[in-house]
Every structure is written in C-alpha cells, then in structure tokens.
Amino acid sequence: MSKHLRKISAALMIAAMAMGAPAWAQSDTGAMVVGLSGDPTLINSGTTTEINSSVVGAQIYSTIIRLDPKGEPAPSLAKSWQVAPDGLTYTFKFFDGIKWHDGTPFTSKDVAWSLLNVNKLYNGPAGGLLEAVQAIETPDDQTAVFKLARPYPPLLRGLAYFNSSTILPKHIFDNGQDPRQNPANLKPIGTGPFMFKEMKKGSHILLERYPDYHQDGPNVERLIFQIIPNEAARALALEKAEIDFIPYHVMPLGEVERLQTNKAITVAFQKRVIAGQYQAFLNTREGPLANTAVRQALYFAMNRSELLAKAGFGHGKVSDGGPFSSELPVFYTADVKQYGYDPALANRMLDEAGFPRDASGKRFSLRISYSLSEGPMNDVSRLLRSQFAQVGVELVDKGMEASAWRDTSFVKWDYDITMGSFASGPDPAIGAEAFYTCKRIERLSGRNASGYCNAEVDRLFEAGGRELDEGKRTEAYRKAAAILAEDVPHWWLWDRYYPIAFQSKLEGITDDVTGYGTLDRVRWTQ
C-alpha cells in the first residue's frame, strides 16, 4: 500500500468517526423513523391489502372515519354520520375545506367514485365489505349517502380500515386507466397528515408534514420509513435510535424480551380488533381427519401452552373461545367445549374411533403444511411432531415458501393440516364467516379450505350478519362458536397479541387499534 493511500484512508476513517458519534448524541425531534421489513410494492391500499402499503398509505391518505383508542368510530374525513333505523341508509357529512395534497378540493364524489370503482373491484376485503352497498349518492360536495340492499352492521367500522377503505382522489384515478397502473401508486397524493416526498426502493420512503391537514397534527416535520430486512438488525437499530418505531407486523418476536430490559424503549401490545389467531385448517374431506372424533382427540393431544410458550414466545393466550379470539370484542365467549392437554384421553378416543396402533406403535401419519415465512409455525410443527408421537400419530413436515403454501393449501386443497395466522374479526361477518360457511368453500386464499359444511352454522352466520340488534347478533354467533368448537374443523392454537416497540419518548403510538392507523397525533415528549 502506498503512503498516499494510507494517508487518505486514515483521513477518511477519522472523518467518519468525527461525523458519526456526535450525530447520535443529539436527538432530532423534527423527524420520526419507522422500521419496515420491505418496500411496499405500491402505496395504494385501495388496490392491495399488503400491510406495508397500509402502514405507509395511512399517513398519506384518509378514511371516512377512524377508530378512537376504545375502538369507537371517530371523525376523520367525515365530521358526523347517521345510520337509519332500518340499517339501509348511512349518511356522512364531511369537513369543509379539505384539500388533496395537490390543492384540488376534496368532495363527496371522491368517496363514491373511489369506493365503488377502485376499492370494491380491486381490493378483496373491500369487495366483501361493500357487497351490500348498492349506490353511494352525493347530493352535495359535503354529503355522501350509502344505500344498502340489506342491513350490514359491520360496514361502519369497516370503513375505518386503511387496508380496505382508503379514499383515493377521483381527479387522479378516474382517467380510464387501470388504477393499478396509475403512476400515483408510487407518488401518492392524499388528504392525510403527511405528503409524499420521495421513495427509494430498498432504502426508504420520505414523507413531509402537510401544513393544510384538516385535523390536529401532525407533530413531526418528516416521517421516514426505513427498510430493514434483517430481524435482529431491526431491533438493534431501534436500540441505537437509528429508528424510532417497529410496527406489529415487522416486530421480531425473539427480540421482545431483550428490548423490554432497555429503559429507553417501550414494548407494548398493539390492540388489534381484527383479532388474529394462529390456527390450523383441517382437511375434513378425506383420511382420518374426516372423522370428528379424530379431530377432537388430536386437539386433546396438543399441549398448546407449550406451543405458545416455546414457539410464540408467550405473546398471546391459548384459544378458549373456539373460532373467536378473546381479543374479539362482544362476540367472544369461553362457554364452548374446552380441549385441555390430555394425551391419555386422546389415546383412548383414537382407539375407540377405530385407529389402533400397529406393531411399531403408529396409528397413521398426517402432513402438516405452513408458510416458512410465518414466524412461529416452523417451531409449532416441530413441537407438534413430538406431542403427536405420544399418541401414535406421525406428522410429516411440509413447510414451504409463502406462495407455494397458499397455492397447495387454499387452491389445490392438497393438505391434511395447514396452519397460519387468520383474523376472526374485526367482525365475525368479515373474519370468521369466510372459514366455516358452506358457500365460502372456494379455491381461494383465506376461505373455507377445510371443506367443513354445516347447515345450522350457515344459518347462524347468515342471521348474525344481517341482524341489527347487537344482543341477537351475539347470541347467533355464540351458538355458532359452540357448534364449531364441538365439530373442530380447525384447531385454534392461540389468540395473538401483537408486540410493538418504540422510543419511550414517543407519545400516542398506542392510540391506534387497527395496527396501521394514522400517526398524526404521535409526538416527541420532553
């Protein structure tokens, strides 16, 4: 190495050190950095349900209403609303003077056009949510009237979710072009608290405060989403204050315990009324699992406390409400058949069901499928393998890459047991219904892949979805839950809690109950 080179590199090193250390010493309250695991492929939750897209889009766009910290509807674009007693007409009044980030006035026509021409056609959950909506009338620029074909109580809260109900600008998307090809998907223009500034794929997304935001806030000048693919590094970056907040869907579960010991970091649980459960779909069409007694027996053979503790790092609660998570408000009940860990009972039931052990002690074998990218499932599979070995059932591990898993399980139905995280909420009519009713036996992701079909359960879900009286709805759903817990088309493993972590100096993060809410009220304290 020449002397010159040596001098230059030494100089560079010194310069680097000089820049680095003091840069961290002062904390910059004008900016907030959120860690993400990957790029949102586009920023338009009207056409995609990708969570990264909703997390970023929620800062740029708005929904008609939002949910307050208790989960009650609160004003967002709409300042007030009214639901007719027959449940067939919803009238929304919007704030005056709302402007899109490009200066164009926002009107009720944006709402009607966006929901019916984009969200309903291109976004799966929105398609279901808006199915009952026949028309959206716009008598004036500040009023939108939803006309429903039949009562659909989940509609109001559903409109608060960014991943189905983001309102897009008509003047930009109504140009005859396919909305998924619109350049605004990568340069969004919204009505939300932050304006899009720049997106560098694989690196970051930069947003800036929108001075004309029609509600309070935002309280930081710049909001940055930084892409950190590596889980361990994401936690380290938070500890070193390179980033300030890790949302629930990218939280490295294995790091939670260590982060909890750091005083500068707050670990909280994201309230999520979509109420996710880790659960296994059972293929009830063929093989031993077609037999209800076998499904029950193996549910008894399962030590779910161990699964939760070892595979789920304890972040949850062993499911005791059958198809409804204990996080699901109102409808959840533990008054259903319970399946405590009881291998002796399981053995006896399997004997009685006509599956005796062979010479080697084995009864039969089952395939267990899951997506390798779905956090704890790999460990669940390993633990279950040894638990089921106790009762003479062999498990064949079929962990696979996410797309392949969805394809073989939900489209080809080529599985015995397939597991992952699925939402029982935010309302059973949106969440749970898709898994258990006969008409949802469709070759599609997140539908009734177990092939379970029970006319009584269908009738109860149908009643619950139409009924306006909350007491009667609850009754219908609780009856359905009791039948399902008896028939076990699924094994409900545990109700998920969603840890999040952020700098303790940040305030207001836990107010959101959706998991991808607007950060307009988050502020730095001190």
Binding site: G20, L42, T49, L186, K201, L206, Q226, A404, R406, D407
Partner: protein, 323 residues
C-alpha cells in the same frame, strides 16, 4: 483489428447463451407453485371473478408456451415489461438499484484483491514460516465463515457494542445529508458491509496468490532477477507477481456470479438498498417480469465480466493474443 474481431465473435456467442438462459429460467420460474395473483390479493382473499379477471389481465390464463412466445418477442424489441406488482417498468426498477450494488461490490472486491494479493505474496515469501501459518489460518477461517453470520457479528461488535459504525442502511435518513456530507455519510455506512464481504473473499484470492507465487518463484527468471541483485521486494512484486496473477484473475472472473449471491446476503443483513433485495422480493411476490429481467441482467453482467477478464489476460501476459 484482430482484437475487435475477437470481441465481435465473443459478443455473438453471448446471443445463443442468453437465449438459452432466458428459456430455461422462464420455464423454471413458471413451474414453481404459486403465482402473482395470490400475492396481490393477500391473506384476506378475493372472489373467483376478481382472481380470474386479474389472471386474464396478466395473461396468466394462457398456456405457458404462448406466454413465453410473447415474452421473447417483447425482449427482442427491447421491452423488459412491467412489474406485475408495482406496475413500474422492469428496467427502471433494476437500474435504480444497480448503483448501490455496484458500489458495494466494487469496493469490497478491490479491498479483497489488494489485501488478498498482498498477504498472498507475503505468505509465499517464506512458506511454512510462522507468518505464513498465521495468514493461512486467517484465510481458511475467512473462507469458511458464512457471510450472513459474519455480517451480524460485525454489526454487533462494531455497530452495537463499540458504537463505531451505523447498523443499517446506506445513509443517515434522519439527518438527510446532501453534497459532500452525503458522500462521507455513504462511505461511513459502506464500511461494515464492504469489510464483511471483503473478508469473505480475501481467503480465496490469498490462497491462490500464495500457491501461484510459490510456483513461479522456482522459475529460472526469478533466479536471474535475484542474481542481478534486485531487492526482494522488486523480485516478488514486479517479476513473480505479474506472472503469478493469471490464475488469480481467472478465478476472480469465474467468481463473479458468486459475488452477486454474496451481495444478496450482505444487502439483507445490512439493509443495503441494492439488487439483491429486489431479487428476493420479486421471488416472494412471483413477480415474473421483474424476475426474468433480473436474471437477464445478471446473465449479461456475468458474460460481460468474463469478457473483461479475458481482455485483462492480454494486458497481463503479452504472449496471449486474440486472433
């Protein structure tokens, strides 16, 4: 003249090579289960009509062979297509990310070559001496350590505990530097990932240089050089090394595809916004046009890199003439 002819011939050979690569890769990735529609509609699912409509719009309802014909035709017209997930042109997506990867690869490979060749020569000077043994141990270890593990250890030690370097990314986003401060900031962020990859690659270059130099130092012209009274340094670096470098350059060229694989891992560990991460995301989303574009780009890059290596031979060894 003959050099230009040679170049033309080499470039001509690349055409069937590329065509073959395109065909094989196309059928392989379409044979993998899952498709982009699955990814687009997500966990919540969508109705059969929506799925059918999406599939038809992407042309996925047609037989694979027809899809291939359409794709090949478009590529010949110079159109790599649009990402089915983001709708952005594939070429733009790739070129946007290439500079970051190129910066990382060039830096680390230059570092690896300089360190590897220097240590290799030092090592070869007195084979089996204490110095040689220490260097040998280091080189074998560096070659055996997986990049992702080494990367995480570097982050833990130099980023987390010692607090000398940043942990993630290419720039300090909170500060948003511009101008010269930005350049310094990038260099600062580059240090750990480049060092990690360099350490990994040093082993190979070092071992090759060492054995090759040992072989060469037995030759008569080295004895002559020593007999002339040249310093040991001149003998080793001017006379021995130049002849010993040929096999090293060959291997460096052959290793370039491996470099890209290494870059994927390092980019993931350090959050470096390069091509590696783009490829991984494209695979997960089954973004066929983007994936095809990436593979085409990598093929072309490897072919060109090998061409450059061939040309380097001539520069290093006047006996080699391309005709």
């Amino acid at each position: 003249m003959s050099l230009i002819l040679y170049l033309l011939k080499r470039l001509l050979y690349t055409l069937p090579l590329m065509a073959g690569a395109i065909a094989i890769i196309f059928f392989l990735i379409h044979a993998a289960p899952g498709d982009p529609v699955d990814y687009l509609i997500g966990e919540a699912g969508a109705s059969q009509e929506v799925v059918d409509r999406l599939r038809a719009q992407m042309g996925l309802d047609r037989p694979v062979i027809v899809q291939f014909g359409i794709y090949a035709f478009e590529v010949l017209r110079g159109n790599l297509g649009y990402s089915v997930v983001s709708g952005a042109p594939v070429l733009t997506l790739i070129l946007e990310r290439f500079p970051a990867t190129l910066l990382l690869m060039a830096t680390q490979y230059t570092l690896a070559a300089i360190i590897g060749i220097t240590l290799g020569v030092v090592s070869a000077r007195r084979p089996n001496s204490a110095t040689d043994n220490v260097i040998t141990f280091f080189s074998l270890a560096s070659f055996a350590i997986p990049v992702f593990w080494l990367g995480q250890m570097m982050i833990l030690i130099f980023g987390y505990y010692l607090d000398w370097f940043p942990i993630q990314g290419m720039t300090n986003l909170r500060k948003g530097y511009t101008g010269f401060a930005y350049v310094l900031d990038v260099a600062y962020h580059l240090t750990l990932p480049a060092l990690t990859l360099a350490i990994y690659n040093v082993g190979l270059v070092l071992r090759l240089t060492r054995s090759s130099v040992i072989q060469v130092t037995g030759q008569d012209y080295i004895k002559v050089a020593r007999a002339k009274g040249l310093s040991e340094r001149t003998v080793l670096f001017k006379h021995a090394l130049r002849n010993a470098l040929l096999p090293v350059v060959t291997v460096i060229g052959v290793e370039i595809p491996g470099l890209i694989a290494g870059a994927v891992l390092a980019e993931t560990v350090f959050g470096w916004p390069g091509l590696g991460r783009l490829t991984l995301d494209a695979i997960n989303a089954r973004d066929y046009p983007l994936l095809m574009g990436m593979f085409l780009f990598i093929c072309l890059f490897v072919i060109l890199a090998n061409l450059v290596v061939d040309l380097l031979y001539a520069a290093l060894d006047p006996r080699i003439r391309y005709s």
